[in-house]
Structures are given as structure tokens and as C-alpha cells.
């Protein structure tokens, strides 16, 4: 006989399977809550329980093994209408694979009910041990009894912050308990304890469901947290996470007008190398933008270790009066090395140079190179200003772009106000 939520009473489970009771009690509980089947989305996992889909009159989403809670999270975040119910069905295998997803749903307190059909083993694949198999429980892969204790899903999800957590013995009519969990605002986690008739009963004869749970230290119970829910239809979510009036990323870009001349008549490649925290990338950006203000084409890219706060920091800049397609770099025309780490990083390139210029801090040993070497004290106003100082020095020494273009970019970016600029310029002018 069909109900509002089930189109048949002949559900596709083995005789005596607890999944049958979970489905029928769920249908009853949803009726008790006055929900319409089209207000309910049931997301199912892989496992015996997952074949319930075709018997449901609700919307159904059937995904991958262990990922149903994560999939349902997306649904929960996307549903904007209030009054919709999201149910997730999964087994103890899916819960083992997807434990992080369940913890995450509890942490966020997502508006969904997660029903774990825990029959203590993997039923669909032959009765193997799962992460929820109690210690001592026998399975096809633990004939002498499972060696390890099971995860306590209720304790884990309660600690993570789910609003409502309960463990239910899957015996008889437990629709009242399900309805109580399903009406929760926020995340409710329902662990329904079952015995698989094909494998659990066979390998653990004469053991009672309630006794197994009790001996495992996981009896029935209800645990709650008083927390606000998080979901797509919640006003708190909409206010905090939906940005209906986002602006174009182009609005934040500085349009650079051509104001200065450049003497460059062919491509020119520059490497700035120093240490993290010494303004290398900032100086490279200033030079690149200044070059644009001189009508040049430019590319710029940084290179640094994954730990961006220590070690070398380097940047490659290509300048050209012509369109730049390929923006890699073989042997640079100019290298600026302002620290030991920067010098070490660019040493191979410096040694390959048969011409060009090496601008190097005077504290560093000059490597063998075919480049013209110009030493200078870039660190006299602190290491953090070394690269910035070098960017002005570069303009002065090469004449490719005027010093004013560099200073202009420092001014417009607000950098100038943070620098001892007069002292830096005075030091440079003394050179």
C-alpha cells in the first residue's frame, strides 16, 4: 500500500532488513510533520539503502559512495525557499568514507537531517567490516570479531556542533523519534542501529541489537546544541553570504595613461632578485606600471618559494615597444640583486650573461659574469626599502624610462608617503 511518501509498501530490501523500517518510519514521520513530498529532497548514498529512491515520491538525488552529505550540502545551500526539507540517507560504509562531510555539516549546522543506517558492516559488498563496526562484532572479514572500536558518530557530530543528535534502535515504530529529529532547525544526525539479516545475524547469532549497542558503549540517546542553522533559505545566510550587487573586477583596475617617453626600441628583460619582505614584488610592479606610463608593453611575474615569507623573492619583467607574446625569459638584459638569497637564485642567469647590466648590492660578492657590474648600497635605508631604491636606480642607470615615471607610480600607489623618499633620492643623487 502506498503512502504520501512511498509509492509502494513492497520496498526493495532483504526480508528483515532495518532499512525497510527506516524508510517506512521516515514516511510516517514526514506525514506527521505535514510535509508535502515535493517539499522534500532525499539525497541517498551508495549502499543497500540507496535503492529506496524509486519507491519515494519526494525529489531524489543519488550520488557517490560516501559523498551524499556533501552533495546534500550543496542542495541545502542552494535552496532559497523556506519550508523545504533535505534528508540524507547513508549507510555505515558511506559514513566511514564521508566522515569529514558529516563533521562539516555538523560544524556548519546545515539545515538537513542525516540518517545513518548503521548495520555495523558493508552489506552490499558482502558483509565486510566498516569504521562503525563495534569491537568484537563478527563480519566476513573479521570472523573472530572486529579488533577495533567503532567511531562514535553521535559524540563526534555533537562535538562538531550539530543541533540535534540521536541514536535510535531500529526496531518497530520509531517514527516519533525521527519526527523529532526531522523538525530540527539546523543539522540533525540520526544514527539508526540495525542488524543486517544477511551477514550481521549470520555471523553474530543470538545477539540482540540493543545488547550489541550497549556493550559497545553506544546506547540510545539524544544530544543537542543550541545553535542557529546555516542554509540557503536562512536570512542570516543571505545577508552574510549572498552578494547580489557584486561589481566588475575591472572597476578596481588602475587605468594607466601614457605620460612619459621611453628610449627603448627593442625588447628588454629584467630580473629583480632579493629576499622575501624586501619589497621585490612591489618594486617590480612599480617598474612595470611606470613602463606602461611610458607607452611600453610589459609583462611581470613573480617567483618565490611556497613559503612566501622567507627565502628568495624574484620577479621577471619584460619591456618592449612591440607587442609581447612569449613572456618567458632566457638570458636577461639586466639583473638587480639586492640580497644574498636573491643573488643565489639568479646566479645561473647572471653567469650566462654575455653583456647587459648587473646591478648588485655592494655587500655582495660579485659573481663571474659578462655583464657590466654596477654596485650600490641599496640596504642603507633598511632591507625593506632595498628593492624600491633599486627600482629608481634602474631608471637612472639605464635611461629606459625616466625616474619621474617611477616616482609617479610610487606617489599614485600611496607608497611614496611610506618611504624616506627624500633621503633615498639624495643618496641616489650622490652616486
Amino acid at each position: 500500500m502506498s503512502t504520501n511518501f512511498l509509492n509502494t509498501s513492497n520496498l526493495p530490501f532483504c526480508k528483515g532488513c532495518g532499512h525497510d523500517l527506516v524508510s517506512k518510519n521516515t514516511a510516517k514521520a514526514l506525514d506527521m510533520l505535514g510535509l508535502d513530498p515535493k517539499d522534500v529532497i532525499v539525497v541517498t548514498d551508495i549502499g543497500c539503502h540507496g535503492i529506496i529512491d524509486k519507491a519515494l515520491n519526494a525529489h531524489t538525488v543519488h550520488g557517490l559512495h560516501g559523498r551524499s552529505v556533501a552533495l546534500a550540502t550543496g542542495v541545502s545551500l542552494g535552496v532559497q525557499e523556506p519550508g523545504k526539507k533535505i534528508l540524507v540517507f547513508l549507510g555505515d560504509g558511506g559514513a566511514t568514507i564521508g566522515l569529514q562531510h558529516i563533521i562539516e555539516a555538523a560544524r556548519l549546522n546545515l539545515n538537513m537531517s542525516i540518517v545513518i543506517h548503521n548495520n555495523y558492516l558493508y552489506g552490499m559488498t558482502g558483509g565486510q567490516t566498516s569504521g562503525l563496526t563495534p569491537e568484537g562484532f563478527r563480519t566476513t572479514t573479521a570472523l573472530s570479531g572486529n579488533t577495533f572500536a567503532a567511531h562514535d558518530l553521535c559524540a563526534l557530530t555533537h562535538a562538531a556542533g550539530a543541533s540535534y543528535v540521536t541514536r535510535i534502535m531500529g526496531i518497530g515504530d520509531f517514527s516519533d523519534q525521527l519526527a523529532e529529529a526531522y523538525k530540527t532547525k539546523g543539522c540533525s544526525v540520526i544514527e539508526v542501529i540495525e542488524l543486517c539479516p544477511s551477514y550481521g545475524v549470520k555471523f553474530n547469532p543470538n545477539r540482540k541489537l540493543r545488547d550489541i549497542a550497549f556493550e559497545a558503549g553506544k546506547p540510545e540517546g539524544v544530544w543537542t546544541n543550541d545553535r542557529p542553522p546555516f542554509n540557503g533559505s536562512d536570512s542570516n545566510f543571505k545577508e552574510k553570504y549572498l552578494k547580489p550587487n557584486v561589481k566588475s573586477l575591472f572597476d578596481k583596475l588602475d587605468k594607466i595613461n601614457i605620460k612619459y617617453p621611453s628610449s627603448l626600441n627593442k625588447g628588454y628583460s629584467i630580473v629583480l632578485s632579493g629576499s622575501a619582505g624586501e619589497g621585490v614584488q612591489l618594486a617590480a610592479s612599480i617598474i612595470t606600471k611606470a613602463a606602461l606610463s611610458c607607452g611600453l608593453n610589459a609583462t611581470q611575474k613573480g617567483s618565490y618559494p611556497v613559503t612566501v615569507g622567507v627565502g628568495f623573492s624574484s620577479s621577471e619583467i619584460n619591456l618592449s615597444p612591440e607587442t609581447i607574446n612569449y613572456h618567458g625569459m632566457d638570458i636577461p638584459d639586466l639583473v638587480v640583486a639586492t640580497s644574498e638569497e636573491g643573488l643565489a637564485y639568479s646566479l645561473k642567469k647572471i653567469k650566462q650573461m654575455q653583456g647587459g647590466i648587473l646591478i648588485i648590492d655592494q655587500s655582495l660578492d660579485v659573481p663571474i659574469t659578462g655583464a657590466k657590474v654596477i654596485p650600490f648600497d641599496f640596504r642603507s635605508f633598511g632591507a625593506k626599502n632595498a628593492s624600491i631604491m633599486a627600482s629608481i636606480f634602474f631608471a637612472d642607470k639605464t635611461g629606459i624610462i625616466p625616474r619621474e615615471s617611477i616616482l609617479d607610480m610610487m606617489e599614485s600607489s600611496g607608497l611614496a608617503a611610506k618611504l624616506p623618499l627624500e633621503k633615498i633620492l639624495a643618496a641616489l643623487d650622490r652616486d
Binding site: K38, K54, T60, L64, G74, L77, E104, L296, P321
Partner: protein, 373 residues
């Protein structure tokens, strides 16, 4: 000489262009887990998409995206190989469910974690075989910054139109390099809408319509029951073993992609009269190819250039173009000739030369020297 005379010149990176283009094309959601070199995409997404949420890992990323897509949102993410590898089963799921999304894959040097801050073009073979059954995922590969704009928009359009995941394949050098660029001449991108459904009709989530694209209804719907599944299913979305209807439904996924391949085939062909040599490239290497061709022509060599933007499935027109040349050079930044082998199999024909590097960009000189007759 092409002086930068633009008064609209800005310093921009490929990541910004891609995110802006995708947002204008109709993507409204970004779910992601940060990974180098895709971090700029992630950063811009926080500023540009109506909904942006950080996921705890890349499997979760695609799962959340799929759930959101089921409710009618158009999600995007960005990752690199280590994250993409985790995503593959879930992208298969979204493909079977016929839900749209775009995955930006910023390539870096592998295998495994490899070098996060070194570019590469090493994930092409993976993309070719990522669907069980050998089915095809549309893969677009921008090279010039103008392509970062148009192909990103196209990726969203195709994802929506075909109800399918799409990969926008890029690399570290494209998404992290700043370059002067004139944004005032970018072509307009308009948002694409999902194929709708007349609510008066009977709804089947996977109806086999003439155009191969089932109409879409978001969950939940107050009138029609919606069934979405990643398992083999009939047109109603009910799990089946291997019934004729279910097998036909699965085969329709590939038929759908191939039916519209012409519609999303994009390439640039610069043919030189009298040339017998054709240089083929894509992505970041296409920029080196452009310079190489210019230099070769300046030195008197005749050569044509095919810049591929629709990487997969391979459009038949590429073979028609190649058939006109006796000497074919394929430049790609990997050591294993991945795209070359996709085109020609493991034994490359004698008239096909692969130019590859591993751990560094291919230079114009690499191409000129490697392609010398």
C-alpha cells in the same frame, strides 16, 4: 612596431579576465579550495561571484557545486592537478547527472605535488581519459589574454547549454603573469540560460529530446518530481542495470557533446601561401609559437600556424587542416607528447615532430631549432 598607445591600458593577469568573463557569462557561484597556482582565481572569485564558499577539500568542492547546480546555480571552481585528481570521480558524477559547472585547471609541474610554482602542460592525457567509458569532456585552452576572456565565457556557455562539466585548461604562466592589456576592446559576453521546461508537460529529468539536451528543472519543484542520479538510469532518472533505455541514455551523453562540437570549436589558423610546414600549439606555448613563426617568416621560411583553443574533444577540422601539410610540428610543454599522441596515437607519423620541454616554458628558439628542416 605596436606601441602601447591605449588610454585604457591596465596591468592585468589571466585570472582576473577569466573570473570576470565567467561571471558575465552566467556563472554565479564559486566553491573552492586554494591551491597554487590557482590562488588568484580563488581570490578574485571572493570579490566577483554572488555566492562564494570555501570547501574543506576538492572532493567536497565538486559535491557542493553539484548540489548547488541541482538547485539552478551555475558553479565554478579553480584548482591544479593535486586537487583535480581528487575531483575526478565527482566530475564523473556531475557529468552523469547532467549538471553544469566549470573547472579551471591551472597546470603546474607534476607528477604528484611536483613544483607548485612551475608551469606545465602536463594534464592533457588525464583530461582525455578522465571519464570512465572514454567519454569526452569539453576542454578549452586559452593562450593570449583575449582568449582568457573569450574562452572563459565560452566554457560557461557550453556548460550551461549542454548541461555538462567543462574544463578551462590554463597554466601557472597564464594565471599569474601580469601584462598590459586593453580591456576596452573586449567582446561583450552575455549570460546564457538553462534550457527551460514547460511546466504543463510530464517531466522526465533525462528526457531524450531531439536536441539531446534534456530540459532542466531545479530541485525542489512544487509540481514535478525530480530525480537526479549518477548511476545508470532511465529517462525518469531511476536506477537501472543495463536496460536498452538506460544504455541509450548513457550513450546520449557522448552523442550530446559530439553533436555540438562544431558549435564550440575554436581555433586560429594563420596560413601562409606556399607553406608545407604547419606549427600547432595551444595554451601558454602558443605565445612562443607566435613569436617563432614571426621570426621564421622574417628569415624567409614559409610556415603556417594553428593555435588550438578547443582542445578536447578533438574537432575534425584540425585533421582537415593538417592534411594540407607535409610537415607538422606540435609544441607542448610536456616531455611525453600528450596532445600529439591524442591526435596521432603512440607512434607519431614520420612527418610529425613533437617539441616539448619539462620544467620550463618552451621558447621561440626551441621551436625554431626543433622545427628546422
Amino acid at each position: 612596431m605596436q606601441k602601447n598607445n591605449s588610454q585604457e591600458s591596465v596591468l592585468i593577469d589571466g585570472s582576473r579576465l577569466m573570473i570576470e568573463a565567467m561571471a558575465r557569462a552566467g556563472a554565479d557561484t564559486f566553491i573552492g579550495y586554494p591551491i597554487t597556482p590557482a590562488n588568484l582565481l580563488y581570490l578574485y572569485a571572493t570579490q566577483r561571484f554572488e555566492l562564494m564558499l570555501p570547501a574543506p577539500d576538492e572532493i567536497t568542492t565538486i559535491q557542493w557545486m553539484t548540489g548547488l547546480a541541482a538547485t539552478g546555480r551555475i558553479p565554478v571552481t579553480a584548482t591544479s592537478f593535486p586537487g583535480f585528481a581528487l575531483m575526478i570521480e565527482s566530475i564523473n558524477m556531475a557529468y552523469m547527472m547532467e549538471l553544469p559547472m566549470v573547472i579551471v585547471l591551472a597546470q603546474r609541474l607534476g607528477p604528484a605535488t611536483g613544483t607548485a610554482t612551475c608551469g606545465a602542460q602536463g594534464d592533457i592525457a588525464l583530461l582525455r581519459g578522465m571519464y570512465s567509458g572514454g567519454f569526452s569532456i569539453p576542454v578549452f585552452s586559452p593562450s593570449a589574454y583575449s582568449d582568457s576572456w573569450t574562452m572563459a565565457g565560452e566554457a560557461v556557455r557550453v556548460a550551461i547549454k549542454l548541461r555538462t562539466p567543462v574544463v578551462l585548461l590554463t597554466s601557472k604562466e597564464e594565471v599569474m603573469t601580469h601584462k598590459n592589456f586593453d580591456i576596452s576592446h573586449l567582446p561583450e559576453i552575455t549570460a546564457t540560460q538553462m534550457k527551460g521546461f514547460d511546466l504543463a508537460d510530464e517531466y522526465r529529468t533525462y528526457a531524450n529530446t531531439e536536441d539531446k539536451i534534456p530540459p532542466f528543472l531545479a530541485v525542489p519543484n512544487n509540481k514535478h518530481q525530480i530525480r537526479i542520479t549518477a548511476s545508470t538510469h532511465d529517462t525518469k532518472g531511476i536506477l537501472q542495470h543495463s536496460t536498452e533505455e538506460a544504455i541509450d541514455n548513457t550513450l546520449r551523453l557522448q552523442e550530446k557533446t559530439m553533436k555540438y562540437l562544431d558549435d564550440f570549436t575554436h581555433y586560429d589558423l594563420d596560413e601562409q601561401a606556399g607553406a608545407t610546414k604547419l606549427l600547432i600549439s595551444f595554451g601558454i606555448t602558443a605565445l612562443a609559437a607566435l613569436d617563432a613563426v614571426n621570426r621564421m617568416r622574417t628569415s624567409g621560411e614559409k610556415i603556417s600556424l594553428l593555435t588550438i583553443k578547443t582542445l578536447l574533444p578533438v574537432p575534425p577540422v584540425y585533421y582537415e587542416i593538417m592534411d594540407k601539410y607535409s610537415n607538422i610540428i606540435i609544441a607542448e610543454e610536456n616531455s611525453t607528447a600528450q596532445y600529439s599522441k591524442i591526435l596521432f596515437g603512440d607512434r607519431l607519423p614520420k612527418n610529425v615532430t613533437h617539441i616539448g620541454t619539462f620544467g620550463r616554458m618552451i621558447t621561440p628558439s626551441d621551436i625554431i631549432n626543433g622545427g628546422a628542416e
